[in-house]
């Protein structure tokens, strides 16, 4: 189905909304899987990963406000102290916004390294928050989560830029 540029223009907002909402929904579902034991500590935060992706590629649609709201949702779903994921997501998205123009210039591997740094900051913040609440440090498996998250950055980029999704033209091009 080849649409003329005019009609493509008209359907753009709807397609964009569906892609954004769909990806966030899938990430939420992945986070809500019954993780237990070691996988509970080591699994990457899919919601944070998707939020970082969109705040880099769609800064006008996804920003700190979305991070805050989804953070509250995660807090309730995990029944942890309300506001803790919200704070972590907001800080991580702020860092992504700072690094955004730089990250867009880089190759996927170099992008993943930047994401790794952001995810490590987020995880450190989570650990500090929980230690300040008087909890026990649950072990170094927690450091695996950012590594896995950064590794997922590359397949995630491939999925998001599949021809099927590319039809909804929402990916920013690099301006050199």
């Amino acid at each position: 189905m080849d649409l003329s540029p005019v009609s493509r223009e008209a359907m753009r907002p709807m397609a964009r909304f569906r892609l954004l909402a769909g990806s966030i929904f899938i990430a939420l579902i992945l986070n809500l899987l019954p993780w237990s034991g070691a996988s509970l500590r080591a699994h990457p935060d899919f919601v944070l990963l998707v939020l970082l992706y969109w705040s880099i590629h769609q800064p006008r649609n996804i920003g700190q406000g979305w991070g805050f709201v989804l953070g509250l949702v995660m807090d309730v779903a995990n029944s942890v102290l309300l506001g803790q994921h919200a704070l972590i997501y907001v800080v991580a998205i702020y860092l992504a916004q700072l690094l955004r123009l730089r990250v867009l210039q880089l190759s996927l591997l170099e992008q993943a390294l930047h994401i790794l740094a952001i995810l490590f900051v987020a995880q450190t913040l989570a650990i500090l928050l929980n230690l300040s609440l008087g909890r026990e440090f649950p072990g170094l498996l927690l450091a695996v989560a950012p590594l896995l998250g950064a590794a997922l950055w590359i397949p995630m980029n491939y999925i998001a830029t599949l021809p099927r999704f590319r039809r909804s033209p929402i990916h920013t091009t690099v301006m050199r």
Binding site: N31, G83, E136
Partner: protein, 308 residues
């Protein structure tokens, strides 16, 4: 403007301003939740929406489990059946004895000699998953408000105490394990009746017994059962076995570590004791205590003002 173009001039507040705003709101929410438990209503409402989604997500796993059980080999079932029959025989003697003891106990109670605390009324629940918080030692069970669960109920498995219910949703409840940091159970040593408080360490499979004098008679291998003085855990439930006793005269207290007898990694089904008989205990009047604390605070402030 097309989506391909960058917006040249930034619109709205800067991202640093947004960061400051959202961080402050998040911290305010955290304080509200931590200090005043003000948002438990919000939590309950949202959990009612999320629980059905979670159950839908569990469905594929449950189906795979069922198919696996269906095709499990005959041999193993036969062996398991034989073992269970032996166990029933074993337990039936104990249960008959327990009936006798209970009737004697009831007689003594009628004489006013003791307070009946142990009630075996309960509800079997299934452990759905760990709580999704790597920093806490909690599990989620599949019974909630709609099954009559309430915070404070003790949860046991075939071997002993697992923990107690600390939060209840519509269709699920959160059980805090005895190994959770600072989670405490009043216990006593079966051998000689020495009382202590078992406090969780936050680590897998260890419980501490703090504030036991060096001279106390506690040995490695001693069985600890709940003493029932808190009114949460009925008396006489197995809690832990003493594993390490370190009596160093340089310190006023011995360092004693115990291993919990029950383990959530061993069983899928647990029993929630739904009617802890706390009639013999005074109810804590939280409101009055808070009022008193507030009065003390304001009184102190007034005195300080006078002193100035």
């Amino acid at each position: 403007m097309s989506a391909y173009q960058e917006n040249f001039f930034a619109r709205g507040p800067s991202s640093l301003a947004k960061l400051t705003f959202f961080s402050l709101v998040a911290i305010a929410v955290m304080i509200a939740d931590h200090r005043f438990q003000a948002l438990s209503v919000v939590r309950l409402g949202v959990s009612a929406v999320i629980t059905p989604i979670e159950q839908a997500l569990r469905l594929p796993g449950t189906l795979v489990d069922r198919v696996g059980v269906y095709f499990r080999d005959q041999q193993r079932l036969v062996a398991e059946n034989a073992a269970l029959k032996l166990q029933v025989l074993d337990l039936s003697a104990a249960s008959q004895q327990a009936t006798l003891i209970r009737s004697e106990r009831a007689y003594l109670d009628s004489l006013g000699a003791a307070n009946a605390r142990f009630s075996d009324q309960g509800l079997v629940a299934e452990i759905i998953r760990d709580a999704r918080n790597p920093f806490a030692r909690k599990v989620i069970i599949d019974k909630g408000l709609s099954h009559g669960m309430a915070a404070g109920f003790a949860v046991i498995d075939g071997k002993g105490v697992i923990g107690q219910i600390t939060a209840v949703g519509m269709l699920s409840a959160e059980v805090t394990l005895t190994t959770e940091k600072d989670q405490s159970v009043p216990v006593m040593v079966v051998r000689n009746g020495v009382r202590a408080i078992a406090v969780g360490t936050g680590r897998e499979g260890t419980i501490d017994l703090p504030f036991i004098p060096v001279g106390a008679d506690i040995q490695v291998g001693d069985m600890l059962v709940s003493s029932g003085i808190d009114g949460t855990y009925p008396a006489g439930l197995a809690v832990a076995t003493v594993a390490v006793v370190d009596k160093n005269p340089a310190f006023p207290f011995a360092r004693i570590t115990a291993n919990p007898t029950a383990g959530t990694d061993q069983h899928r089904f647990v029993k929630v004791l739904t009617s802890p008989d706390t009639s013999g205990y005074p109810k804590p009047d939280i409101k009055a205590e808070e009022r008193k604390a507030a009065r003390d605070r304001s009184g102190g402030a007034a005195k300080r003002r006078e002193g100035r």
